[in-house]
């Protein structure tokens, strides 16, 4: 977190700079099945973030040494397009993307019924086309919809959502300014139906109470996003193959 103390992020009326309430999400749009060549795909716009996810597989896992006898492995690549941020991102090796890819893959392996596909691999490709804070969560949401679109059985639809802290106040779903100048960020991946958590990161400064409140906001938002995800999948199947 940037943690600069001198940027005002809350207005006199208690609302945030973009007019949202402290527990209000940015608007979300989701579309399933957007990439014709993939086995499953999704497009998610969350605030000004745009993420696209594609699923290929299940397919044979090779090289052999990555195979698991009793389950499939999930191979996730989270990537930010060079033009997705204010300063261009150089393509290629990137420690931040590697870490996010790793923990996202582990979160998805926690919800997919991996035992259904022994010795297999499922490729999940997450591309961030436009970034405005919270891209790892938007990527998780997109990946979950793409997996569902591909017909991969899962314990629940995983939802990516974050809360944070600005001006000593816990708020839901940080935007770019709040992310740059705020005090904490708590991105999680939630299974809304089981109430479990499959993804968890956090940085900044949160007291135990602040943490609990941020988690409460996250669970509430996850339920809302879940409905939008389900809607997108319904539209996809009612609308047929396109």
């Amino acid at each position: 977190m940037g943690g600069y103390g001198d940027v005002k992020l809350l207005r006199e009326d208690g609302l945030r700079l973009d007019g949202r309430k402290i527990d209000e999400m940015r608007p979300i749009e989701i579309e399933a099945g957007t990439l014709p060549g993939a086995d499953g795909s999704a497009w998610v716009k969350h605030g000004l973030n745009v993420a696209v996810a594609a699923v290929y597989g299940p397919m044979e896992a090779h090289p052999r040494k990555i195979q698991r006898q009793d389950r499939c492995v999930i191979d996730v690549r989270y990537n930010m397009a060079p033009f997705s941020t204010s300063d261009r991102i150089r393509p290629g090796y990137n420690r931040r993307s590697r870490e996010i890819s790793k923990v996202t893959a582990e979160a998805l392996e926690s919800v997919v019924i991996c035992e259904r596909y022994p010795r297999s691999k499922i490729r999940v490709e997450i591309e961030i086309l436009s970034a405005e804070a919270g891209t790892r969560c938007v990527g998780i949401t997109a990946a979950a919809v793409a997996l569902a679109d591909a017909g991969i059985p899962m314990r629940d639809l995983l939802v990516g959502v974050a809360s944070g802290k600005v001006e000593d106040t816990v708020v839901l779903d940080l935007d770019k300014a709040e992310d740059n100048y705020g005090q904490a960020d708590l991105p999680v991946g939630i299974l809304p139906n089981t109430g479990e958590i499959a993804f968890l990161q956090m940085d900044g400064d949160l007291s135990p109470d602040e943490f609990n409140l941020a988690m409460e906001y996250n669970f509430k938002a996850a339920a809302e996003i879940h409905d939008i995800m389900v809607d997108a999948l319904k539209r996809r199947y009612e609308g047929g193959e396109n």
Binding site: F83, R88, E127, E132
Partner: protein, 261 residues
């Protein structure tokens, strides 16, 4: 085993070619549906999305401030590169840039660069000290045939809508980048023994060599490239060159229409 299906496909494509037909019913020089959208990405200083059949491409433009090369103190620079990441299709694998992605980026780059549509001296801020570097990045979300033409279209459309972010770099007010012309690429692939325009993914799988032609506003050649295994005769080239002229005029109109919006 993998070799079998292409063999049958090749036979079918050859049979169709004898009757001057294509596997999806199109005419030999007929393109699939193309939609072009610009200014579609929040952080791109210019951006475009092309949906060409089932092929989906994004291009984004970013500006960097840099010191000029010592031998060209009053010129900025332009670079176009393409990423062919594994999202683009089942056959694409992670790893360092493949020869395919390098070729794609460089062929599109040459077409735009050699057309002279950007005046490099206009990209100079302070001679010998500060110039603009213009980066066009192409992102292939879905490759379902004729990726090169779709990428070139997205790249020039993104470039033509680019805003120079002078304010962000504290060198004056933002202004629209001046792009003097609209270089367009038209590519041809040998399918069933004869060239067709805009091959589908299936036609590419069962096809042979391809020829990429980039033409400027006056119909001059700015870039050529032959890719993949196969040879062609000067007469064959003359035939597709004529088609390229008319296809490029049509695609240039598509860009102009979008800008008129």
């Amino acid at each position: 085993m993998v070799a079998l299906v292409p063999t049958l496909l090749r036979q079918e494509l050859a049979r169709l070619a004898e009757n001057d037909a294509r596997i999806d019913g199109r005419g030999r020089w007929e393109a699939r549906d193309i939609t072009l959208e610009t200014d579609c990405l929040y952080n791109g200083e210019g951006s475009a999305k092309v949906v060409w059949g089932d092929t989906i491409i994004y291009a984004g433009v970013k500006f960097e401030m840099r010191t000029p090369w010592p031998d060209r103190p009053n010129q900025g620079s332009l670079m176009c590169s393409a990423e062919l990441r594994p999202i683009a299709g089942r056959k694409y694998e992670p790893g360092p840039p493949s020869p395919e992605s390098i070729e794609l980026g460089r062929v599109v780059d040459r077409g735009i660069r050699e057309s002279g549509c950007i005046d490099m001296e206009k990209l100079c801020i302070v001679p010998g000290e500060k110039v603009w570097g213009v980066m066009i990045d192409i992102h292939v979300l879905s490759d379902q045939g004729n990726m090169f033409d779709a990428c070139a279209l997205a790249a020039i459309a993104a470039l033509r809508t680019a805003i120079v972010p002078a304010e962000r770099f504290d060198v004056g007010e933002d202004y629209t980048l001046k792009v003097k012309s609209t270089p367009i690429m038209a590519s041809f692939t040998r399918v069933g023994g004869r060239y067709v325009f805009d091959p589908s993914a299936e036609e590419e799988l069962g096809g042979d060599e391809r020829i990429h032609i980039t033409l400027g506003d006056e119909g001059h050649l700015h870039s050529l490239q032959k890719g993949l295994k196969g040879v062609f005769t000067p007469d064959e080239f003359a035939e597709i060159f004529d088609v390229a002229q008319s296809r490029c005029v049509e695609l240039r109109k598509l860009v102009a229409n979008q800008e008129g919006n």
